[in-house]
């Protein structure tokens, strides 16, 4: 019986050999894959072992950490709540981050190459290096004003957004989207509770998770007339050039007639370009667009930033929140020729023209900055864990849609809109304010959207703020006037005056 016993011994040896080989596979070959697997909770624990960087604006913390007794050591908190949620976003435990938390994740977590030296020095001192801090360009007063005014708008709109930019640098002063959400429950360490909170927000028909300032496009209405004006000024028109207007206009190739919003605005057959903008003369701009032609209109819109698909707002090195592209639409008949009726409609910002709130602010900012459109950014500074500056935003010119002379003409025309025309409610004392209103029809039977794009110069003649406010489906009428009023308040707050 000894021979089979020896063979049984060999069998055990072989079985243990298999175990050993398999252990090598699991702990050797697959070790790295398992160590970093999404299923591996240790990855998360290690991530939460060191404090993540703080996100702040003008000294106000917007995302910070609280030491807890959990397995995950630090709890992420968002004291700014829904006011800042569209900018800051949130960092959930087991899924991808959102907002600045996402775009600056590497820096905030401390994994960025920029923090290499800090990690090395932490290794020697034995401390655990935390993540780097992000300082936003947001002006808390402007942001709070934007949120407060949007949520309490006098037109009873249920949705809207606002963007304010420093025209000279591109620094974003305010970026609000309404309705918004509280990011705190989404960062809950109890992933089931966090998932439930997310599901609830995601199922909300008002889509509070949507960033309406950056990712949604709407028909811009009359705000688009600024671009048509620019195209005209570049093609030999002057502010004082008379353009044909009239109370009604039907474009060649049929279509329903275009009328002016009120009988009192530009009733005459001829108005100057400046008057047409001041009174937001639909017939004048429809005819002007048709006169300029479809190619020139589309080209002008592109010059101001329409059709750009890869714009992000974050740091100026490329990572940031994506901005949806604004479009003019094809404006063509099925046979490829220019659709004249469509062109007439497009010239007053209807038909297939779509614009983001960010794009609206960029247009106003470029006018205010003498024709130079600065690249918008949210990240002003990156600080090391011990708050040593590592990155400072150095403003970049994104594009130059018009020269300074045309920009000057546009500025005068837009100031006239606020002084004498449709944008009077944007006026703020002590500042020279210019702008353009827009009332956009959208779906049949739906209330109009209200727009305002504008800018403000202080008494030293510095362009302190450019803004775009957009109110969705305003039920109570006066949509654009309300947008103008809110714009004025935001710009005043951004300029360091008032707030509230």
């Amino acid at each position: 019986m000894n021979a089979p016993l020896r063979k049984a011994g060999v069998v055990i040896l072989v079985l243990f050999g298999l175990l050993f080989a398999n252990l090598n596979w699991v702990q050797g070959y697959k070790a790295d894959a398992y160590r970093t697997s999404d299923y591996n909770g240790r990855v998360r624990v290690a991530e939460y072992e060191v404090p993540r960087g703080v996100i702040e604006a003008a000294g106000v913390p917007l995302a910070r950490n609280k030491l807890t007794d959990d397995t995950l050591k630090y709890l992420r908190q968002y004291p700014g709540g829904q006011v800042y949620a569209p900018i800051v976003g949130y960092k959930p435990v087991n899924i991808a981050e959102v907002g600045i938390e996402r775009s600056e994740n590497e820096f905030l977590s401390g994994a960025s190459d920029k923090l290499f030296a800090d990690r090395v020095s932490a290794m020697f001192t034995g401390d655990k290096a935390g993540g780097g801090n992000v300082v936003l360009s947001i002006k808390p007063k402007a942001q709070e004003t934007a949120w407060k005014q949007l949520t309490n708008n006098e037109g009873n709109a249920k949705k809207g957004s606002a963007v304010a930019i420093d025209p000279r640098t591109g620094a974003i002063q305010a970026l609000a989207s309404f309705p918004s959400y509280d990011p705190n429950p989404l960062a809950n360490h109890d992933t089931k509770a966090a998932a439930a909170a997310y599901e609830k927000l995601n199922a909300d028909k008002d889509k509070p998770l949507l960033n309406r300032a950056l990712s949604e496009t709407y028909p811009p209405g009359s705000t688009f007339k600024v671009i048509i004006s620019a195209a005209a000024l570049q093609n030999g028109y002057k502010q004082s050039t008379d353009i044909p207007a009239g109370s009604s206009y039907t474009a060649p190739g049929s279509g329903s007639p275009i009328r002016n919003s009120g009988d009192q605005s530009c009733p005459g057959e001829q108005v100057t370009l400046k008057e047409a903008l001041t009174d937001s003369c639909n017939t004048g701009y429809a005819r002007l667009g048709v006169e300029l032609g479809g190619e020139k209109v589309k080209k002008a819109a592109q010059d101001w930033g329409f059709e750009q698909t890869d714009l992000t707002v974050g740091d100026l090195e490329g990572s940031g929140l994506p901005v949806a592209a604004s479009h003019t639409g094809e404006i063509k008949n099925p046979d490829g020729s220019i659709d004249q009726a469509g062109l007439a409609q497009s010239s007053i910002g209807q038909k297939d023209v779509r614009m983001t709130t960010m794009q609206g602010a960029l247009i106003a900012a470029a006018v205010a900055n003498g024709g130079k459109q600065m690249r918008p950014y949210l990240v002003q500074q990156l600080l090391s864990p011990d708050r040593r500056p590592i990155y400072n935003a150095s403003p970049q010119t994104l594009r130059t849609p018009v020269n300074s002379q045309v920009a000057g003409d546009l500025r005068e025309m837009m100031v006239s809109v606020v002084e004498n025309g449709t944008g009077k409610r944007a006026k703020i004392s002590g500042f020279e304010v210019g702008g353009k209103t827009g009332t956009a029809q959208n779906a049949t039977g739906a209330d109009n959207h209200g727009w305002f794009i504008g800018f403000a110069y202080n008494d030293k003649g510095e362009a302190v703020s450019a803004v775009c406010v957009m109110l969705e489906n305003v039920p109570d009428g006066g949509a654009s006037a309300e947008a103008a009023r809110i714009s004025g308040l935001i710009m005043k707050a951004a300029a360091g005056q008032g707030g509230d």
Partner: protein
């Protein structure tokens, strides 16, 4: 029992190895404290010292009752057992730190309970050594043991799930806070029964009738016993929902059968029947479900544990995956005792203790642990080789092989080599049944190894025992032809 002058008993070597093992256990405890508290407490050595007292006591019992027993067995098992207690205590420490409670006492928590169970298990082992002075006396109770074994196997199957089911496998008898795994004891009883039965029937079973492809196959009517045990183990597979246990019983029987008859054909028949049966169960599970569904489930989970459908399903691969991730995180060298996060692995104190330890001691540590198990199994087989009677050979061989197979089944399950089953890891997992049964197994191996290593001039062990067999038969002329 007097020592024969000029012979080596190996008892001093045993004591020396035991000291080494206990030093390792103490060092493990110290490392755990260093990693958990960032300091080593003045009392770190207490659990190791208590264990040392217990093992030295067993060593003394062996000195008096089995002087020539294999000196490697006790130290090796003591090392594994001690590390098990150390790891369970490490889990308690982590828990008390998380709850901001003071350090648990030596007998508190899971680690403390394991320490207490070790005491009970060692007492049982000592009692077995004291009572059974000759392993052959066991054969007198073979039929009783066989019946007891089968009853123990069947109890969880007939009990309602609420009293017998843990994690989908019906292997338990639950009585309030207390639960035992009767299968652990059943394997001891069954080995003894199989050995007795086969010693008596080996001539008949080794009769060959037909020769196919150069292999002798048994006559049809001699297939009865093997078919019975095959059916029994398949019933276990279906009703106790546990492939590992089924594999364990069947493998045990086929190997003792093979050793007894020296016919390879039994091995082939056994393997074909078992894997055929398992495949059939898989197919039935996939098509008709019912009692086979659980096995099919485990098999699909094993085939692709990382598929999100398997991972997210209740009772899916979560446990297996977390175990694998723990092992992978440990890598080659591990995080160090006490520095890992075994808390992520469900059931880390029971079935998955190997994965929990693997994160902290790494591939190198686990390999050393594997070598320890291999050493125990091979020393057991060595005792079987050396002992002179067939019954002793079959018992020692069967027990050693079963132990090896059980280690393979559970570790293979945890590392994803074979479908996962609810076996305990011998001497490591928390729980009294497993510890007691396996220490009894070791006591039996010690008893048989004593007989096998005893010099012929020292007189047969039977002299001091109570065997009714006249010892002269074995002592003088060989009554059995033992092939080299």
């Amino acid at each position: 029992m007097p020592r024969v002058p000029g012979t080596k008993t190996g008892r001093n070597a045993e004591l020396g190895l035991l000291a080494l093992a206990m030093i390792l256990v103490a060092a493990y405890g110290a490392t755990v404290e260093a990693n958990q508290f960032d300091k080593i407490t003045p009392t770190f050595w207490v659990p190791a010292a208590l264990l040392s007292v217990l093992f030295v006591a067993l060593h003394l019992v062996v000195r008096f009752t089995a002087l020539y027993a294999d000196p490697v067995l006790i130290p090796t098992v003591a090392l594994i057992n001690g590390l098990g207690v150390g790891f369970l205590r490490r889990l308690d420490l982590a828990k008390s730190i998380a709850a901001k409670q003071p350090e648990p006492g030596v007998f508190a928590g899971v680690g403390g309970r394991q320490l207490a169970w070790t005491l009970v298990a060692l007492v049982l082992a000592a009692v077995l050594l004291l009572v059974v002075r000759d392993h052959k006396t066991v054969s007198r109770y073979a039929y009783t043991l066989g019946l007891v074994g089968i009853v123990l196997v069947m109890i969880p199957a007939v009990l309602p799930g609420s009293l017998s089911e843990v994690n989908g496998a019906k292997l338990w008898i639950k009585m309030g806070a207390f639960s035992i795994q009767p299968g652990e004891f059943a394997k001891l009883a069954l080995v003894s029964f199989f050995a007795y039965y086969l010693v008596r029937k080996r001539e008949v079973l080794s009769l060959a009738s037909r020769r196919v492809l150069g292999i002798d196959f048994p006559r049809g009517r001699d297939l009865g016993p093997v078919i019975t045990v095959w059916l029994l183990s398949l019933l276990v597979l279906v009703f106790e929902k546990d492939l590992g246990t089924a594999l364990l019983y069947f493998g045990l029987f086929v190997v003792t059968l093979y050793v007894a008859t020296e016919r390879v054909s039994w091995l082939i028949i056994g393997l074909v029947m078992f894997f055929g049966g398992v495949y059939l169960a898989y197919l039935l599970g996939a098509s008709i479900g019912g009692p086979f569904a659980n096995f099919y489930d485990r098999a699909t989970v094993w085939l692709d544990p990382f598929a999100s459908a398997n991972y997210n399903r209740l009772g899916g691969s979560y446990q297996l995956v977390q175990g694998l991730l723990g092992l992978g995180t440990g890598g080659l060298f591990g995080t160090g005792p006490g520095a890992g996060s075994p808390g992520f692995v469900p059931e880390v104190r029971n079935d998955f203790i190997f994965a929990g330890m693997g994160e902290e001691i790494g591939l190198f540590g686990l390999s050393a642990l594997l070598v320890c198990y291999l050493l125990i199994v091979e020393r057991g087989l060595r005792a079987a080789l050396g002992v002179r009677d067939s019954f002793g050979k079959l018992v020692a061989g069967g027990l050693a092989f079963t132990l090896g197979l059980q280690v393979f089944v559970i570790l293979g399950g945890i590392t994803g080599l074979i479908p996962l089953t609810g076996q305990t890891t011998p001497f490591l997992s928390s729980g009294g049944s497993s510890l007691m049964a396996n220490w009894l197994l070791i006591a039996m191996l010690l008893r048989i190894s004593d007989a096998s290593r005893r010099p012929a001039t020292a007189g047969p062990a039977a002299q001091s025992g109570g065997s009714k067999q006249p010892p002269v038969q074995l002592h003088g002329a060989m009554t059995e032809v033992i092939k080299p």
